[in-house]
């Protein structure tokens, strides 16, 4: 029962997705084909028309393809619904890299830069911008050497293997530790999937809908002590309130539209 309704929701979402889909302009047909063979998700997901290129702030188109392919494996579209790619996480990451976070504007940046112990945390002289740039190039070089294709053109199983190798530090990158890059990428993917949509990710609040998070809060004074009663609401983002698409109370808290069992 549960699964089939989940699947129904997923298919409904696919229909609604329309043209919104990808950061990148085009994927080589061969790669798109090889992906559709490998993915657990319905083939229709792979065949969804690619959107016109979105404006990129930092990533090059080649890097954006890498990031989009990677986030699609880290939080995949599956029977539970859309994943990080569909939620626009690649755009989120591009914007974060282009901004203060990408250049470590609020972090300590003076040397010397010995590598330190794991307990001493981030000690790379590279900013996140630079880590992504170097690591994507070096990971793609590895993929070309082993598979004769860049990362984004690999099938899902191959992509998962490369990501696992980065995660577990087996893939030796020259410029930085593989795990440093992987942890940035995974952390950013989770951020992009669950942050307010104003940052470019969590499109259509897909991440919030997945876990049942209502976003901008309502006043819960009347609900906090209703025990074991699920509070299910249409999530509200900051943008919804700015654009007056969501109702607010006198203090500006969201007035949630509660969902019924059927929704």
């Amino acid at each position: 029962m549960k699964e089939s309704s989940g699947r129904r929701r997923f298919l409904k979402w696919l229909g609604a997705l329309g043209a919104a889909g990808s950061v990148v302009q085009a994927i080589p047909p061969a790669a798109a084909q090889s992906q559709s063979h490998q993915h657990a998700a319905p083939p229709a997901a792979r065949g969804a028309p690619m959107a016109k290129s979105q404006v990129l702030g930092y990533l090059t188109p080649v890097e954006a393809e890498f990031v989009e392919a990677a986030v699609a494996r880290l939080i995949p579209a599956d029977e539970l619904g859309p994943g990080a790619k569909e939620a626009g996480v690649a755009i989120f990451i591009d914007r974060q890299l282009a901004g203060a976070w990408g250049t470590m504007a609020r972090n300590y940046r003076l040397g010397p830069w010995p590598e330190g112990t794991p307990q001493q945390g981030y000690q790379s002289p590279l900013t996140p911008q630079e880590v992504y740039r170097a690591a994507i190039r070096e990971t793609n070089e590895f993929c070309l050497k082993i598979y004769s294709k860049p990362f984004n053109a690999l099938n899902a199983a191959q992509q998962d293997q490369v990501l696992r190798d980065l995660d577990e530090g087996r893939l030796a990158l020259q410029s930085t530790r593989a795990q440093l890059f992987f942890n940035l990428l995974l952390g950013n993917t989770i951020e992009g999937f669950f942050s307010d949509p104003i940052y470019g990710g969590n499109r259509d609040k897909l991440g919030w809908k997945l876990v049942g998070f209502p976003g901008v809060a309502a006043v819960y004074t009347g609900f906090i002590d209703k025990h074991n009663v699920p509070y299910r609401a249409q999530p509200v983002g900051i943008g919804d309130i700015q654009q007056k698409l969501a109702q607010v109370d006198e203090h500006g808290h969201a007035v949630h539209v509660l969902l019924t069992r059927k929704d």
Binding site: L74, Y108, D196, L210, A217, T221, I241, V248, H251, H253
Partner: protein, 587 residues
């Protein structure tokens, strides 16, 4: 560059946060000219903490909007003295604030009184268990002040911040529903406890069935509108779940902004200067008296502000660093175990047991800072430590602070870190889990200390503060023992799965643990082992007081803010009623 010398004032505050606002308010009211120097910017509810912008997890929790800008200033860290300390380049383990209100803008609101035992840790441990029960290199000590002396000041701070709670020991009489282990209090809390969420109610029921005495955590999230002695009104909490790490748009979480600043800013005797970074306290030629402070403003101009009284009211790290930079008190030398400034740095030993349910839903995104039920059977010396090989403990609590999915998305151990398997568990358990958290204490040791880094500098060219710190056997043993006790309660609650996470292994500065850094300007009765006396006054330069958790000789099994508030009013009382009448070293 030329330094502009300013007109003398009576009092200069270095830092305008929780302690600075109270001292500023009281001393300005008493007729003194007070200048508050704050390194960060002005922040107030009306212009800075408004809906819907404050409900933004990325900005506040992951990009640290309200916290210290490390590009200007950080600390360096190493686990052991044979390592090279390296800068904390990004925030993680702890989150000092920056700007008016300090960390008390983004705090969680839990407002405890340390136990009477906490203030006499060394003498009571030796009296009950003998000298060998404390590790040889443990420097934990008595505070020089007792709970009984502090009681009126705890009371005053709780009434200032409108704390919601339930008394467990009213003038010696144990009251049902409160914490029976707390020191005797003179009055009930000013506000009743908050409404309790499902998680807290399950915890309470099970804890009671096991013979424990659960009670609501005292918190600064006010349960009803409340007007304090300064005429400030703190509103009622709406359980929105954006509390710790955030500022409160409702003005319902007590803070300098909600409780003190409205009246302080109207006092003509008080002047606030923001973006004023104090780099040094200047002493007279005999180094017995502070004559002024030097600060740099946001245009790069240097100023010298003469004052009769210098109050260090910044975060732990800056209180310690300014003492070291200015040559106030002898720096601690861990090899010789001599000197006092930087000695007795301690932290917290938090751990948890997370429970996962298939048949219960918790609406985990709702909540308030400190919204929880707690038990105190395993705190301080409330239980027999004979044969356990450690001292201290911590309170256990379960409740709902407001889960937001970037940071709080518990999954059962064994879940993959990414992919469909991860996604499934995150989706399943976001609203179907809660934790028993343990606020473990932390003792002080010879090798855990603060000094000036030999290599790294801040944006003003000053040496960074260097932290040498690791958890010792006492803390690890304690954490394992306490967490197993919590696991017994968790099992009885009956989850489908649970993660038991004691705090073991080396301390790491990477993941967030707690902003409860303590010590470095420890208070005490003996100038050989304390940097400030029982009134938080420098032994060496008596017109300097260092106020805050920097004075804790070791950290208890509670959040520190209630005790910081009590020490503030305690020091204020000594300044107003003793020091100002007869300036000099108080005895």
């Amino acid at each position: 560059m030329a330094i502009t010398k300013l007109k003398p004032v009576d009092v200069v505050l270095v830092g305008v946060g929780l302690t600075g606002t109270i001292l500023g308010k009281e001393l300005a009211d008493s007729g003194l000219k007070v200048v508050g120097l704050e390194r960060g910017r002005m922040r107030d509810t009306e212009s800075d903490f408004q809906m819907p912008y404050v409900h933004d997890e990325l900005k506040y929790v992951r990009r640290y909007e309200l916290m210290q800008d490390l590009s200007r200033e950080t600390i360096t860290f190493r686990n052991a003295m044979n390592e090279t300390a390296l800068p904390m380049r990004q925030l993680g383990s702890f989150l000092p604030g920056e700007g008016v209100g300090g960390a008390a803008v983004h705090w969680g609101g839990l407002t405890w009184r340390f136990l009477p035992w906490d203030f006499e840790t060394r003498s009571r441990t030796i009296a009950r268990y003998g000298k060998d029960h404390m590790a040889a290199d443990c420097t934990s000590q008595d505070w020089g002040v007792t709970y009984e002396e502090l009681e009126p000041h705890f009371d005053r701070f709780e009434y200032l911040y409108g704390i919601s709670g339930k008394a467990g020991n009213l003038k010696g009489a144990i009251r049902p529903g409160g914490n029976p282990f707390e020191g005797a209090r003179s009055r009930e809390y000013p506000n009743p406890p908050l409404k309790m969420p499902y998680s807290s109610s399950l915890f309470r029921k099970t804890a009671e069935s096991l013979g424990y005495k659960p009670f609501p955590v005292p918190t600064a999230a006010n349960s009803r509108p409340y007007t304090n002695e300064y005429g400030a009104t703190i509103n009622a909490c709406v359980y929105c779940g954006y509390c710790q790490f955030f500022a409160c748009e409702m003005g319902a979480k007590a803070s300098p902004q909600t409780a003190v600043l409205p009246s302080l800013m109207n006092n003509k005797n008080f002047e606030l200067r923001t973006r004023a970074n104090v780099v040094k306290i200047n002493l007279d030629s005999e180094k017995k008296r502070a004559v002024s402070v030097t600060y740099v403003d946001s245009r790069g101009r240097e100023f010298e502000q003469p004052a009769e009284l210098v109050l260090l009211t910044s975060y732990v790290f800056n209180n310690v660093r300014l003492m070291l930079q200015s040559g106030i008190g002898k720096p601690y030398d861990p090899d010789a175990n001599t000197g006092v400034v930087g000695r007795n740095y301690a932290y917290q030993t938090p751990s948890s047991v997370t429970m996962f349910f298939d048949d219960k839903v918790f609406n985990s995104f709702m909540g308030a800072g400190g919204l929880a039920m707690a038990i105190d059977e395993f705190n301080g010396d409330n239980f027999d430590h004979s044969g356990l090989g450690f001292i201290g403990g911590g309170f256990f609590a379960a409740g709902s602070n407001g889960a937001r999915p970037i940071e709080v998305r518990p999954v059962p151990s064994g879940t993959p870190r990414w992919g469909s398997g991860w996604k499934k568990e995150v989706a399943k358990y976001f609203n179907r889990s809660f934790a028993i958290t343990i606020q473990g204490a932390c003792q002080s040791y010879r090798t855990n200390y603060l000094d000036l880094d030999p290599t790294y500098r801040d944006a003003y060219g000053q040496p960074l503060l260097r932290m040498s710190f690791d958890r010792h056997e006492n803390e690890t043993k304690m954490s394992v023992w306490l967490t197993n006790k919590a696991a017994d309660i968790a099992k009885a609650i009956g989850p489908a799965k649970m993660n038991v996470n004691p705090r073991t292994g080396k301390y790491t500065i990477v993941p967030y643990q707690s902003t409860h850094n303590t010590g470095g300007v420890a208070m005490g009765a003996d100038p050989a082992t304390s940097a400030v006396n029982k009134y938080l006054q420098s032994w060496d330069v008596p017109n300097v007081f260092a106020i805050g958790a920097s004075a804790f000789p070791q950290n208890g099994g509670y959040n520190p803010t209630g005790t910081v508030g009590a020490l503030t009013y305690w020091a204020l009382d000594a300044i107003k009623n003793k020091y100002l009448k007869r300036p000099g070293l108080l005895v």
